[in-house]
Amino acid sequence: MKRRDFFKTSIAASAAIVGSSLSAGVTTQPVDGRKISEVAFPEKIPMITYSDRPPLLESTRSAFTKSLTPNDEFFVRWHLPDIPTYIDPDAYTIKIDGLVDRELNISLKSLKHDFEQVEVTAVLQCGGNSRSAFHPVAGGIQWGSGAMGCAKWKGVRLSDILDRAGLKKDAKWIGFNGKEKAAYYESPNFIRELHLEELDDHVILAYEMNGEDLPYLNGYPLRLVIPGYYSDSWVKMMSHITVTNEYKSLFFMDTAYRIPDNDTESETPENRSKTTKPIAKMNVKSVIGYPLNGAKIAHNSQLVVRGVAFDSGLGIKDVLVSVDDGVTWESSLLDNSAGRYAFKAFRFSFKPSGYGKLNIMAKAVNRLGEEQPLAKDVLWNHGGYKYNGIDTVMVEVV
């Protein structure tokens, strides 16, 4: 990149942020309909592009009408600028060391042949998805609602790999490291640590996504899949697993991706919580994929609203739709589930009988009876994490 490039006028400023004059701790619908970049990234269609280095790409609302999100529309979020751009699958290995009986270097080929192959369909969502809903503006990329997707992941159980290595008695923490690198060698690597108790048989090392190799930007050739958890621990381009008996202090664990440690997981800008905890599991949420905001709908023509709903894996029981600003709610039709960690696609058919502006709202309810709050009732936190307000799309009936 040449320095003079910075002085060019914009060719693709895709996500201009507009200031907000709202008072402290107000939550609204996330920003919607941001401009799509004219430039496509490798293996992707043009997407909303917040940054090229590291790549930060958001899916558009229209991606969320079906239970699987296509690989070429799937969101991208890296933390460090230097991502390997060439990986030789024949030479790639993953190392397992630390408190194990046998240190292992497993090749991709061995992973695909010497272990039981399993599949799980699971939602991958950034903890900061929909962050633009929070005011005052919470720190971090001002995502709309497209920092999420659902894919069918295929790979090998982490527990099978750890069994092969043999965990020593005092093994407690598992550290995961991927191949992304910082510009300065002293910078911390993007390492995540999980407690052994958090790792059940659903956690896999995946090499396939929706029947294809993982796209480079989604972590080729191997990434961690932790169903039900936010994506911050789904380490990409996984190259190293280390087993330890004590927790190491790490920036990406101790400082980033944390929320107030209280019952409502909230705070105010003036009075920030002193204690924090990891964002961990996802809350119940739904997003409308069709129609889009501002769409013109013909009077009395049948409209089929489509969207997706999910939670941490407890299971979605119902997605309720309201077309009268939340006065009455009706159940939508849910698709046959691809499993409890997957997007549950919903559809709701009706004839708009009036004219003019019409709000369509969707509210997911899970098996525990947990349901999405109205956007205005989502409480503020400084990192803008875990927004799950009732999604609302405004159309015009003509």
Binding site: S10, A15, I17, S51, P54, S132, V137, I141, D213, P221
Partner: protein, 103 residues
């Protein structure tokens, strides 16, 4: 728990075949930059590690927020930002991407 995972019967017989056989190139995107005093310092100290888009897409923020971000880069990411440059970058960010509030 295990039953929720579909166990695939039979071994995968395909040879390793990457769908991308050559290196990938991540494109360069030009973000609109507000020119002004201090941009040279931003260029020299910030854009080594990340794009300008990463900065402006944080949204308008307080002087304290930007100060903490610069500190984060120094403390956690080990960016070699001198004290003078810290102040210059902070002034630039607050002026062009500030929300008018000190805190």
């Amino acid at each position: 728990m295990i039953k929720k995972l579909i166990v695939l019967t039979g071994l995968v017989s395909s040879t390793l075949f990457a769908q991308v056989k050559t290196d990938v190139e991540v494109p360069y995107i030009s973000y609109e930059i507000k020119m002004g005093k201090g941009f040279d310092a931003v260029n020299a100290n910030c854009l080594m590690c990340h794009s300008f888009g990463y900065i402006i897409n944080q949204g308008p923020q307080s002087r304290k927020f930007w100060d903490e971000k610069i500190n984060k880069m120094i403390v956690h990411f080990k960016a070699p930002i001198e004290k003078e440059a810290h102040e210059t970058v902070l002034n630039y960010l607050y002026k062009h991407y500030g929300n008018g509030k000190l805190k």
